[in-house]
Symmetry: C2
Subunit: 274 residues, 2 copies
């Protein structure tokens, strides 16, 4: 059972799944909801990262989902299941890393829950807001739109910077689609083009220093934004154009004419997605 098959099975019953956040109409603003699990030995090893870095990343992943919708993060809840090795000092470090990032993005951690568990498990839910009907989604890319990423790919930084400012800017520019690159360009662009019922032709991939082209396509965890703009729109300065949305078999991605196989990271399996 892969994450995709689980999500596909549930999506039939849970209609709002599909974008990085669920969008809900409420009063004068839309609410955005997203939640992300960070599990020891699946998403991180405790020997490799200080507590503050783990707390930072647990929040940053959910912030990135809000960024990809062009929203403003507002309120977060943090559920934390702690194994015996997690000392009070470790938990304090975890929250220090998290609260520093939360303050930077005006996000208030309003509540949470604790439990014991055999491995450290953090679930961070963020509720954000966005002007009604204006959230960026995955399903609006049109043939002719230019495809961009917000930075070089293939060497995701552990303490990555969630692209919240860019997300808001893209909303103002009328981006036709947007998502964050959590699982690798090949898989995520496959998802975006599938949701939009289009294909994509890639020409240039900005590869991070020290990374290979294969890593830029498949490695995941870059947390840059992947987005499309109508041809007439001038892209923000930090954006790197990687190709064009085209007509074609839905979900098909080519790179200089060659088929790109979606094989990014699936956190539900430990192996890359087939």
């Amino acid at each position: 059972m892969t994450e995709l098959s689980l999500v596909a099975a549930l999506a039939k019953r849970l209609p709002r799944i599909g974008d990085d956040c669920a969008i809900v109409r409420h009063g004068a603003e839309d609410l955005l909801f997203t939640t992300d699990l960070l599990v020891e030995d699946v998403h991180f090893r405790r020997t490799e990262h200080p507590a503050a870095d783990i707390g930072y990343r647990a929040l940053a992943r959910s912030l990135s989902d809000i960024a990809s919708m062009g929203g403003d993060p507002r309120w977060a809840t943090v559920a934390l299941a702690l194994p015996p090795w997690a000392t009070e000092r470790w938990v304090a470090g975890f929250y220090r890393g998290m609260l520093g990032l939360a303050a930077r993005h005006k996000t208030e951690i309003v509540g949470g829950d604790f439990s014991r568990a055999p491995v450290l498990t953090a679930d961070v839910m963020i509720c954000g807001t966005v002007a009604p009907g204006e959230a960026l989604r995955r399903n609006g890319a049109c043939p002719g739109d230019a495809i961009y990423v917000s930075g070089a790919l293939g060497r995701g930084r552990w303490r990555f910077v969630p692209r919240l400012t860019l997300g808001r800017q893209l909303r103002g520019l009328g981006a036709t689609s947007c998502m964050d690159l959590s699982d690798g360009l090949s898989l995520d662009l496959h998802r975006l083009t599938t949701a939009s019922r289009v294909a994509a032709a890639l020409e240039t991939i900005p590869v991070a220093r020290g990374a290979t082209l294969a890593e830029a396509f498949d490695r995941g965890e870059d947390y840059e934004l992947l987005f499309t703009l109508p041809p007439a729109v001038k892209a923000p300065r930090s954006a790197r154009r990687i190709g064009t949305i085209v007509r074609g078999r839905v979900g098909r991605v080519t790179y200089n004419g060659e088929l790109v196989i979606p094989k990014g990271h699936d956190h539900f399996r430990s192996e890359p997605h087939p």
Copy 2:
């Protein structure tokens, strides 16, 4: 490290913790946020409960938090970390139990996340709504108020019914305080009287059939509502009066003159709270 010491340490930094839900002002309604972890071998054993019962309970615990604030549950996210034993069939059963209860209480599961993990871990966040400034809290009980519970204690049902209708009714009646009995009457009433800076004198405890008085005080997981009403207010029919709020040492609870030691269930430790 107990759950209380963790929460106390965090409460200094996270000002909204203290009630069953965080309360946030947003537009024409207040938003309520709560999140609850359900962890295998801490909160349940998989050999003892079918998947649907575990899904039911994972959602019911968060619904009970919304009930205790007098709110309406609206949107939920579900993060699920699955061990190797959790088959697709098991996950389908889990969601069946959860979605049935969600439909009954007009709660929409809008999103979620999946991961692998060594033990099954579910985190259910619910966002609810309530008329501005009207959420029931723990800190308003006054000397002279009558103390009630919504049912007999000591034998919590696994598939308990979250007291959402009663919660709304109590809000209309002007209840001065309310919380749900998740950790046992002795510990939870200690918390309520501490938050309200009062003491409590108990006279009669409705003990569930098959339970002892000690279980009614300390066993936890009843998920009945514990609340206070001004003396002039007629209580709902289902309410059982158990005593009176009095002046005295803050947090002190007596039962027919004898001191009650707060020793309900602390899910962070496996032992009862000291």
